[in-house]
Symmetry: C2
């Protein structure tokens, strides 16, 4: 269930875009700096975010990437799902026929519950709340 | 945060041993059959369980493996920790200095909460409860 680096950087990009004024176009170079990722790696992640409809890519001199406004804002779970997704906690959670023991295995029920609790936390975190939380923590530290 | 195969099989072994009469010695071959794992792979997992003090290895003609009785019984989290552990949901949760953004990153707090919720579910599941749940599910299906 470990998050991929792509998903982690994708979330960083989304939080950065959402903290910019609405409609702002941010260059790949600036996004790479904000996410602390290489532009080439980030480029692929941005393609996935554009494909998901959460980010728009603008060409030309004043091009760049902008967040597609949405109310309510996407959740952390939606963003991760648009990227590499959240790997299951255990193989038996992968597909319906991933493990023939699941019909009677008492442990399977615990894996299911643990994964549901984890997903619920990510589904409760909106992009807007992540931006607010980040801004407030940075303000406390006197950053920006 | 995906569980290793070793941890998954280790849990199967523990549930099987705990479902046997107290003090019963189970052979490697029988444990391998119960866990649906190869004896050679299971052998390494059993070494880890013996090292953790949860399982005893008996040599000789009437040898085998037995569960070390414990009240309360170990939790699923303890069993997994004794094996390969639970990989962190994200790299920033690995060590204190794993990510310099954690002091201000709003997303980090969500990863922390998600991981805590997941661990709490595993810590609430005792080995005894897993045995009861498995037995009850098997009974409903008319197995055994």
């Amino acid at each position: 269930m470990q998050l991929t680096r792509a998903a982690d950087y994708g979330v960083r990009v989304m939080v950065h875009l959402a903290s910019c004024p609405q409609g702002a176009r941010v260059s790949l170079a600036d996004l790479a700096e904000a996410a602390e990722a290489s532009p080439s790696f980030l480029s692929k992640i941005l393609q996935q975010l554009v494909k998901s409809g959460m980010v728009t890519s603008h060409r030309g001199k004043h091009g760049g990437f902008s967040l597609v406004p949405r109310d309510p804002s996407p959740t952390l779970l939606e963003i991760i799902t648009a990227l590499d997704g959240l790997p299951p906690l255990n193989d038996c959670l992968k597909t319906d026929d991933a493990c023939h023991r699941k019909t009677w295995c008492g442990v399977h029920l615990v894996w299911v519950e643990a994964q549901q609790k984890l997903r619920a936390v990510l589904a409760a975190a909106s992009l807007d709340s992540l931006v607010r939380s980040t801004a407030s923590r940075r303000a406390v530290l006197g950053l920006d």
